[in-house]
Amino acid sequence: MIGMKKESHHDILSDHVETDKHVLDGVKSAPGFRGDVVLAEADDRALDSEICRRVEEVCAPKAIASRHVEGKLQLTLDKGKCIMCGLCEEAAPTLFDVRNGFAQPVKRRLDLVVVGQPDEAPGELGESHEDLGKRLSGKIKKILGRSLAIREVDAGSCNGCEVEVAALNNAIYDIERFGVHFVASPRHADVLLVTGVGSRNMESALKRTYDATPDPKVVVAVGACAASGGIFGDTYASSGGVGDIVPVDVYVPGCPPRPEALLYGLLLAVDRIK
């Protein structure tokens, strides 16, 4: 973004302009980007039941919970539910920090739940999409030989995640150059990239898509909805996460996760193919 300002006179029709620049610069996320929410360093005295009640109340997807452990109040933050709205930081700036990196994708659902301790999430984006992509491409070559085929399934999302998954294919992220491509049928896929709450009306379609995918297969749950139902929760219409319908191997938190987070999630997914 910063680099772009200087050369605003480039021409979209000429070659290399945009893509080369971003590859060389790496992409930085904006200072105010809400990519991750973490528990801030706070001494115990700051935590009273009043403030806990307030942050629990303000959190729409109920990602924040407090409980008494050995007589002390302890906060837990479930990043699988968090929709990165930042309202908790506004309500209690001493307890929460919103960072502009992205919440780290994980292999186990429980790893998304942060208990008590502030976690060591990087404040910055860390690796650029270029470095992530190169690592991904190396891993794909080693484990799969050549390429990784992904089938995307929307199981009841708001289409925010679709926008970001589609962005992986634009000329800047250009995921195909790392050997990753989106395929038209689950029968051609190694990975199912599943978004959405796992809506009741999509349940059987998702199951059938999973069954149609040949082994070995890996399921990546994209976004807060796929991990837990997100703001839509667990209701008559939503199953509260796609994990109830198909086995999930990798969780990518975020609402929606930015393309770099998706790349990181795919890195973990390739690990799962053995």
Binding site: L13, A60, I83, L87, I231
Partner: protein
């Protein structure tokens, strides 16, 4: 906003309320929230008569049909037919009728409008699924929101239904698609899982050779229970929910919701906040139109154009990230104002980025227009004629491409749009005539929708420039929305023009403080989806993705 504006609105609505004098025996009329004329019917049997009167005599356009379960407070279900009247007078006419439940054994019904007002068909089917009221006389009462595996006696929006109920699956009754029979006719089922990175929906084509003889859409796969969910959330939290009705129209939907609540509370956000809302809405329009045009380029097989347009979209999304901290502009709106400010540096960044994107966009449009392989695919494909468009009540880009000159930003100006020049601006007789000719020549095909979108990208960039130039100097971004102003069961309409078209949100405040009794959402997609079934008739199957993309419909926004 000055008190003057409020007075003007009240005036227009009051003038309109006289028009129901001839029905004095059967209705009572009151004006609410500046521009809502509420016409309360004594009997539900008068619904067709009054609705047709509003459509034919007052030139009202059906904006939404709202049902709410008010059995506990008023003894029945209440139906509200909302008509928007543009024509220079910003008025909504709301026909209200009570549907009493006579006895719990027989189903409760209301007279259907489907045969005389086709746009009402889907609303009636939705009401039947969610409330269990039977639209008497609607020939199509197949399930809509709740698919075939839902038991027939489950009505999620009734008050006695608990949000978290897990309903056991009933035996799949199967969906009755219209069967086309004859020599050489075959069927192609597509979806709900599609080949591309798009949302789920099922399409059933009947084809003769390559030509589409009939298309039926089966949607609501992404039904997440948004409206029911809102009844259990706090008012501030519903903003987050409204942003996620359809992720790519976050600003439009949350603006409409906020306006509805602000109307009930009788507060007006500070001018600067309204301007920032408008900037957000136009940025949203720009990045989505760029994405849609890129998609259309893909669907005609012109990958070069798609790749370049997607670069422009990505640039706009990075700008969104800088402005709002979210690539999809989540988190712009708050009740009573906005959460993000546009500092002079940010304003400059917005202006410079939007201008440079526009310069590049113009180069791209020239390239696309000069390419006959692109233009030939667009011309004459997926036609929605003006009559069909009007009958079906379609909105937004699709309506404007079919020659209906409607735009909520102009017909029902809200927020900062009261003072923004909504391009194309025409105030001289010559311009008016030119515009009329322009609208009359729009054929409602994919090419028309392409050109409308191109025009709107240019206009939106200019509007962003204008707003930033006139940005109010005060730093105030939020006014409190006093919860004590929100009386139980008071209600209001909020509306906005998203990049897809008019989105209408209706809120009724709940009895408990800081809750909603009912939140009814109708996005542009819900109004426009039925039109695709006629748009593709006689086109070839291979053109379907193109027609679909040119209409740019949201599944999530439709399914809620």
């Amino acid at each position: 906003m000055t008190a003057g504006v409020v007075r003007v609105h009240q005036g227009a609505a009051n003038r309109r309320s006289n028009l129901f004098d001839r029905f004095r025996e059967t209705v009572s009329v009151r004006v609410l929230n500046w521009n809502e004329v509420h016409v309360d019917l004594r009997s539900k049997e008068d619904i067709p008569q009054l609705c047709l009167y509003v459509r034919d005599e007052l030139k009202g356009k059906l904006a939404t049909v709202i049902c709410s379960d008010e059995r506990r407070s008023t003894g029945g279900f209440v139906l509200r037919y909302v008509f928007g009247i543009g024509n220079g007078e910003d008025v909504f006419v709301i026909i209200t009728a009570r549907v009493l439940q006579e006895d719990s054994a027989s189903p409760t019904s209301f007279p259907s409008l489907a045969l005389v007002l086709p746009a009402a068909t889907v609303y009636e089917r939705e009401i039947k699924d969610m409330f269990g009221l039977i639209p008497e006389g609607n020939p199509d009462i197949r399930p809509l929101t709740l698919h075939e595996h839902w038991p027939e006696d489950v009505f999620p929006l009734r008050k006695e239904f608990e949000l978290r109920t897990k309903v056991a699956k009933a035996q799949d009754r199967g969906y009755m698609f219209l069967k086309v029979e004859g020599e050489g006719v075959s069927e192609i089922p597509v979806g709900p899982v599609h080949a591309g990175i798009i949302e789920p929906g099922h399409f059933r084509f009947s084809i003769l050779g390559e030509n589409i003889v009939n298309l039926e859409t089966r949607l609501f796969y992404t039904h997440r229970g948004v409206e029911k969910l809102a009844e259990g959330l706090g008012l501030d939290q519903v903003i987050l929910l409204s942003e996620r009705i359809s992720g790519d129209e976050a600003v439009a939907n949350s603006s409409a919701y906020c306006q509805a609540v602000e109307k009930v509370a009788g507060v007006v956000p500070p001018p600067r906040a309204l301007q920032i809302r408008a900037v957000g809405a136009e940025l949203e329009r720009i990045y989505n139109h760029l994405g849609t045009l890129a998609g259309m380029s893909t669907d005609v097989g012109f990958a070069y154009g798609a790749a370049r347009l997607n670069i422009l979209k990505e640039r706009m999304m990075r700008l969104n990230e800088e402005v709002a901290g979210s690539r999809l502009l989540f988190g712009v709106n708050r009740l009573g104002g906005v959460a993000v400010d546009l500092s002079p540096e940010k304003s400059r960044l917005v202006k410079e980025t939007a201008d440079s994107v526009l310069a590049d966009f113009n180069r791209m449009v020239k390239l696309l227009r000069d390419d006959s392989s692109v233009m030939d695919r667009l011309r004459g494909t997926g036609v929605i004629g003006p009559d069909v468009a009007a009958e079906m009540g379609i909105v937004g880009v699709a309506a404007r491409s079919s020659g209906l000159d409607i735009d909520t930003r102009r017909d029902h100006p809200y927020g900062a749009y009261r003072s923004i020049t909504i391009a194309p601006h025409y105030d001289t007789p010559r311009h008016l005539v030119e515009r009329e000719v322009e609208m009359a020549t729009r054929r409602g095909d994919v090419l028309a929708r392409f050109e409308t979108r191109v025009e709107e990208v240019v206009n939106s960039v200019n509007m962003v420039g204008e707003v930033l130039f006139n940005l109010d100097g005060s730093t105030e971004l939020l006014v409190p929305v006093p919860r004590e102003n929100l009386k139980p069961f008071s209600h209001a309409l909020g509306y906005a023009e998203s990049h897809r078209g008019q989105t209408v949100h209706w809120v009724m405040v709940g009895e408990e403080p800081d809750t909603l009794f009912r939140y009814k959402v109708r996005t542009a997609s819900f109004a426009n989806w039925p039109a695709i079934e006629t748009a593709v008739l006689n086109d070839i199957v291979a053109d379907f993705p193109l027609v679909n993309k040119s209409l740019d419909l949201s599944y999530a926004g439709n399914d809620l």
